[in-house]
Subunit: 320 residues, 2 copies
Amino acid sequence: MTVATAGEFGLISRVTARLGAESPYVLLGPGDDAALVAAPDGRVVASTDVLVEGRHFRRDWSSARDVGHRAAAANLADIAAMGARPTALLVALCAPANLQISWAEELADGLAAEAGKTGAVVVGGDTSASPTLTISVTALGDLGGESPVLRSGAQPGDVVAVAGRIGHAAAGYTILSRGFRSPKLLVEAFRRPEVPYHLGPVAARLGATAMIDVSDGLLADLGHIAAASGVGIDVRRDAFTVPEPMRDAATALGVDPYGWILTGGDDHALAATFPSDTRLSSDWLVVGSVVASSLFTAGDGVTVDGRRYAGGAPGWDHFR
Amino acid sequence: MTVATAGEFGLISRVTARLGAESPYVLLGPGDDAALVAAPDGRVVASTDVLVEGRHFRRDWSSARDVGHRAAAANLADIAAMGARPTALLVALCAPANLQISWAEELADGLAAEAGKTGAVVVGGDTSASPTLTISVTALGDLGGESPVLRSGAQPGDVVAVAGRIGHAAAGYTILSRGFRSPKLLVEAFRRPEVPYHLGPVAARLGATAMIDVSDGLLADLGHIAAASGVGIDVRRDAFTVPEPMRDAATALGVDPYGWILTGGDDHALAATFPSDTRLSSDWLVVGSVVASSLFTAGDGVTVDGRRYAGGAPGWDHFR
């Protein structure tokens, strides 16, 4: 059955039926004009991210459930990168009239499953027909009384650390775009990010001075921290161990795996700066340090081993 | 200059520059991973609505600023219909690469201006290229310690009242789709809804038992209240005075103006039920009453002058 056959309200009721999770944060879920979500400390963290077919995902590369996982992860990671705990998602689905309703249902399953990893619940949304399959997600979160970790607090002398996978999604993207389907680790990493959400609030409590999730690419996203903080950041390339499947894939494809690691986006790892005496658990990999910078422009404040990185334009521009 | 020429970050910075409003609710605005919004009573109302070009708006019928007003209004009205005060908007803009950046800037102006009517501010968002111009908005709101007004509280004996314009947007849509550009009142009503946002919290304090904003059409939306409340609703046709420009347009086009009033959506008027002894100000027009219903199905619980309305299928399905 297509979404047009089911109709707007049929689609909404079938999708809503898949979301059944409960949460103490959800005071009122789908079905009214708006949802009502608890914000126990009197503040709510909120972020929106949109995924467009052909640009952020392809239906022949990713299942509906995969797309749901990715759409939720992109937003939940933004909440975690503030040091907050995700509480709720709102989802707007724009779908071609001939989309199978099972695709929308499996998308909802993926959204709900990814949200469930953080304790968050899908509380509302909207649907419309559109020629372009588009999923827009808003995530809400709770800081639990802590101060938000901004991009602007990095200080010279801080260490730069990352938690989560780096370069995996970009490697998976390259592999899929060359027509291959393995190594599975990397292809799956593109389909479903594995985000260490809980380490966001942990970083806040450890005294992280700045934090961001790696969506545009490590150097580009550290560039956002550098620009917002008015500092430079130097990354040590040898801090990264290239995992074996990535090395093999890079060799087979004739590419530099550090391109994936340093400039590949969409893993939604957390990248944070900490005072140098912070005791970091093994979840974190120290990859560089914050340095003073008297001369920089946005995105240019990041070096690799002391030099401007020459491995291509870092980051991902969703209009190019 | 097109959005592709400006690039994602150029677009974001140019759009963000138009949003400059301040609000005590906004603890952190655009520019970080997420925004931070005050939720003083420990809860936040949240709703998402999406507008798709060709389905919800046409660029030859509405200016960018009009579309911004409409996109914001559709969401802000949902917050008001809970009895809450809007505090913040998040906006995801999907745009063809050749969209002029001035269009995006004027869209932002319209969003900010409409939000400003309620005291709300645009606090964040996302952008992506897409073949289909799409604007997804999430609105947040504050109940100020009041209980939310749901769809499910209507009681037999309650009166049904509406605040705001009814049928105007639908009349404007019909006029534009027949190739006309006047009467201006109706065409402008399609372009920019005029929503009595402040009456949402007023209705809550007056003891409204149920409330909804009229986006699908009055009978369809009252049907949502009837279904959620397990009641019937009878609307009196002669409660409505057809405004002169609407009567003239209906005559010229050969249509029944009550079709617009009873089934036309997108005015985002507020429709609420109140105990019959509630003293309502002249902002409210009493249009019917809540009746007991032992037999109804969703959308079928509403009658006009005691009979099923025969003027065509009520409501608007965004997949048909």
